[in-house]
């Protein structure tokens, strides 16, 4: 492992080498975006713990390692791909290997009319206008240096366009595989989802890596929901035990649109999710649900932001976590209700189960309310299994280990029961049963 003194210079150097080979280099607007991102990343620097947004998540280790950006797919681990597929799920499939579109493994035939699903690099040439008007449109890099980094190195990802009134008949499963012959690969998948008026769709993003392969994912999903559109989004993170996974989901919601987002962080060395929704239209609905299972030396950090900018919005943030080993969990949920966003309703809940003496949790459910006619509640709990419940089960002849598993399972089940897609529910239950 090479150690480096200044991560910012390191990334700048890598960028300077890579910039001529990046797609869309002839597009002036894209070059401009990259330059802005470059500038913002350079001014902000690599995050450290003095920055409020990164107070509990130390990325020094990440900054001290040298990664090289993936430029070719390389060999695909078909076994890994097989485990990544969700049994009994009838879906369209896109496979990205190290953030790059792998056409031969993707399955997109039979898409309904009015729906475009392709790789972002293709979209840059085939659908330039839609991409230009939506990509990075309202994204801010402030406090989001990794979003800036993603834009700098933007190479590929998925582009979805749902025309007005179109309905995606089957879910789209975007499988991300980190695989290759080399260690220390970094990838920057960038997804752009544009949902037209009254459109409906379900997307699943899942991330997988070889057992203890070291890599760095810096992912960014941009979602633009137009009037009355509906989107359900799942994120399943099953990264390798050595992987750094930093992901962001930013959604802009026009009036009457609905976003339902699920996040399941199950494995990875360091996981950071920035999930943000900007409710820029009236009568929007936005629901964030998440579950994190923190084990051994894992670090999982969930940062949420729901920004009510217009009246009559409804939002929830419901996140639960089970932590043991030396695991470290972070939850930071923010709800902002702007001055004119009257009649907003928000609920925020974070519950944590601490199972080992060395596990730790930092939680911060935050409200910033500038309007008066609102209903906002938030709650956070940290605790352990209820002795009485445990005793009740023991008294029925259930072993202690089993009783604990039953209670742990019950703790997380309401999040999982909420999942609308049955095959995902079954998969999660199966995977998590083993780990609790």
């Amino acid at each position: 492992m090479t150690t480096i003194s200044d991560p910012v210079t390191q990334y700048q150097q890598v960028y300077d080498q890579a910039r001529t080979s990046l797609p869309g280099k002839d597009l002036n607007w894209l070059t401009k975006l990259r330059d802005q991102a470059y500038e913002s990343f350079a001014t902000q620097g690599f995050p450290h713990r003095k920055v409020e947004n990164w107070k509990y998540t130390n990325v020094n280790n990440l900054g001290q390692q040298a990664f090289t950006p993936a430029i070719a797919i390389g060999t695909v681990n078909t076994e890994l791909l097989a485990t990544a597929q969700i049994p009994d799920l009838d879906c369209y499939q896109i496979v990205l290997v190290n953030g790059l579109f792998a056409e031969q493994y993707s399955q997109l035939s039979g898409l309904p009319a009015g729906i475009i699903i392709t790789s972002l690099s293709n979209a840059l040439t085939d659908h330039t206008e839609i991409v230009r008007t939506h990509l990075n449109k309202q994204l801010t890099y402030q406090g989001q240096p990794f979003a800036a980094l993603n834009t700098m190195f933007l190479r590929d990802g998925v582009f979805c366009y749902f025309d007005n009134n179109s309905v995606l008949d089957k879910p789209l499963h975007i499988i991300h595989l980190a695989t290759g012959d080399r260690q220390n690969v970094m990838s920057f998948p960038r997804h752009l989802i544009v949902a037209g008026e009254h459109s409906q769709a379900t997307l699943i993003e899942s991330y997988h890596g070889d057992k203890d392969q070291l890599y760095f994912n810096d992912c960014l999903t941009e979602i633009h929901l137009h009037d009355h559109s509906q989107l359900t989004h799942y994120s399943l993170i099953e990264a390798s035990q050595a992987a750094y996974h930093i992901a962001a989901l930013h959604a802009w919601q026009q009036q009457h649109s609905r976003l339902q987002a699920y996040n399941f962080a199950l494995s990875g060395k360091l996981i950071r999710n920035d999930t943000r929704a900007y409710l820029i239209g009236t009568h929007t609905q936005c629901h964030f649900n998440g579950f994190y299972r923190v084990r051994s030396d894992q670090h999982i950090d969930n940062h949420l932001l729901t920004d009510h900018q217009q009246p009559h919005g409804t939002s929830t943030q419901t996140y639960k976590g089970i932590l043991d080993g030396n695991g470290h969990g972070v939850f930071n949920g923010t709800v902002i209700v702007a001055e004119d966003a009257q009649k907003s309703k928000t609920q925020q809940l974070n519950k944590n189960l601490l199972l080992s003496p060395t596990a730790q949790i930092n939680t911060k459910p935050e409200l910033q309310i500038f309007a008066d006619d609102v209903q906002c509640t938030h709650g956070a709990t940290v605790g352990q299994l209820d002795d009485k419940a445990l005793f009740y089960l023991r008294s029925r002849g259930i072993s202690e280990a089993m009783a604990r598993r039953i209670l742990n399972y019950a703790f997380m089940s309401d999040i999982i029961d909420n999942v609308e897609l049955e095959p995902i529910k079954i998969k999660l239950k199966r995977d998590l049963k083993g780990s609790i």
Binding site: E52, Y56, E339, Q342, N352, L354, L355, S356, P357, T358, A359, Q360, I361, N362, T363, K364, P365, E366, L367, Q368, I369, F370, A371, D372, D373, V374, Q375, C376, T377, H378, G379, A380, T381, V382, G383, Q384
Partner: protein, 480 residues
């Protein structure tokens, strides 16, 4: 509610706004080592105090003003503040109330806290801090009988230097934060209280702080030590005359509770909040912290914050001893352009430690109210328990209410709960009251009082009455 009534009450002049014309001995504005040496010399302090002040000052020079809070204010010029102001008659201090400057007595009368009446009716010993030097201390003899030391800080430095030396800075070290460090360097006076082993303090101790001389920053320092098995209830209340220039108040309060001891610290703060445009008003940047040093100790903070242009403070408890208890009850009200960033820190270190946080924020006008709290459970704090509730009430569409609760848990046996809500007074509630012939104003006042009841209940009798009255005055008409 009619906008007339709103205007009437919102535009009400600050009741306690008047300046008493007393000769004061004020040092020219500015801060340097010389000024600190002079303060120390004027107070005839022993060498260790001067050294401590200078260490703090030198450290302060290396610090920068913190920027993380949600409050905003124009930059403070620390060289424009006068760091010492004492009533003229320093040499012959009054021995009883008769000797007190009649104008001072008049001031207190205007405030509605006449010393005479308090002595007789409330049975409260009052250490009245008028600007920076204590001028009247009552019931000293009665307290002395019980062995309780209750005096001004300067007296304590003279008479009990060993206690001061042992405990000063032991809870809030001079390096703690920008304002605490500044205070350590320049504090002029404050209260000192020592409750010996096994003594239950016979009276409720009370200090009325009052800022008077123009341009004088108040740098109070309060130190309360409760020895093993003792109990004390301490009351602090403030009002200030109307003034145009912002005044900085950077006090430090340190509480030390030893084995089985209990300290109850109550504050009613009603300093001048500035006019409706946000002009003037006090900057209240205070560091308050208590340490439950030993087993079964208990520290309880209760605060009613209705005044000041900016309130920025976090009364905290360090729960070191096993089974120790920390409590924080707070009502913070912001009206017009007032800003409050307040909350608490509960640091659980010992086993079976418990803490309760009840915070009620009320925002009206263009007020800005933030709860910022930390609950930290250390790895050794087995069976630690915390319950936090912070509710906000919004009374206008231009005010804001924020909550920033930090929860850090490193022990699996800990139970930490946090809940909060933000809402306005519901129309149903108002309608219910109106329907029964209660005027809108009374109804709002009633509902707000109900909202705060959990906290008011914790106040000593005298304060509970004052607090309710304060809420009525500061709020009623601000509701629309």
């Amino acid at each position: 509610m009619s906008s007339k009534t709103i205007d009437k009450i919102v535009n009400r002049e600050y009741e306690h706004g008047f300046v008493t014309d007393i000769e004061t001995d004020t040092v020219a504005p500015g801060l340097s080592e010389d000024v600190i040496r002079m303060i120390s010399a004027k107070k005839n302090e022993p060498e260790f105090m001067l050294e401590w002040r200078l260490r703090a000052f030198r450290h302060w020079l290396t610090m920068t003003e913190p920027q993380w809070s949600s409050v905003t204010h124009p930059p403070i010029d620390y060289q424009k503040i006068s760091y010492y102001s004492a009533p003229k008659s320093d040499k012959d201090r009054p021995k009883s109330l008769d000797e007190v400057d009649p104008k001072l007595i008049e001031t207190y009368n205007k405030l509605g806290i006449p010393l005479y009446e308090q002595q007789k009716l409330a049975g409260v010993a009052v250490d009245a801090v008028f600007d920076s030097v204590s001028v009247a201390t009552t019931f000293k003899e009665k307290l002395a009988e019980a062995g309780v030391i209750f005096c001004s800080f300067s007296e304590a430095v003279q008479n009990h230097p060993e206690l001061v030396k042992k405990y000063l800075g032991s809870v809030v070290p001079y390096r703690d934060n920008f304002f605490a460090t500044l205070n350590s360097a320049v504090f002029t006076d404050g209260s000192f209280c020592y409750i010996p082993k096994g003594v239950r303090c016979p009276l409720e101790l009370s200090t009325y702080f009052r800022i008077n001389a123009a341009n004088t920053g108040q740098f109070e320092r309060t130190l309360i030590i409760a020895e093993e098995g003792s109990y004390v209830s301490y009351l602090e209340g403030c009002t200030a005359p109307m003034r145009d220039e912002n005044q900085l108040h950077a006090a430090v309060v340190e509480l030390v509770a030893l084995k089985d001891a209990e300290i109850k610290y109550s504050t009613v703060q009603n300093w001048y909040p500035g006019d409706e445009h946000g002009k003037g008003g006090i900057y209240n940047f205070v560091t308050k912290r208590g340490a439950c040093r030993d087993a079964n100790a208990k520290i309880s903070w209760t605060q009613i914050e209705t005044g000041s242009a900016i309130t920025w403070k976090y009364p905290s408890v360090i729960l070191q001893g096993d089974n120790s208890v920390g409590e924080f009850y707070s009502v913070a009200l912001t009206n017009n352009r007032q800003q409050a960033d307040t909350g608490t820190k509960m640091i659980h270190l010992g086993k079976n430690t418990r803490s309760t946080i009840i915070s009620k924020g009320i925002s009206a006008g263009k007020g800005h109210n933030a709860y910022r709290g930390l609950v930290r459970v250390g790895p050794a704090a087995t069976n630690a328990r915390n319950y936090t509730q912070c509710d906000s009430l919004l009374l206008s569409d231009h005010c804001s209410a924020h909550t920033f609760p930090y929860i850090e848990v490193k022990n699996p046996t800990a139970k930490v709960e946090h809940e909060a809500s933000t809402s306005k007074i519901s129309d149903d509630q108002l309608f219910y009251c109106r329907q029964r012939g209660i005027s809108a104003e009374d109804a709002v006042s009633m509902i707000v009082n109900g909202f705060c009841k959990q906290v008011f209940r914790e106040l000593p009798m005298e304060f509970a009455v004052e607090a309710q009255k304060l809420m009525e005055v500061s709020l009623e008409g601000a509701v629309g």
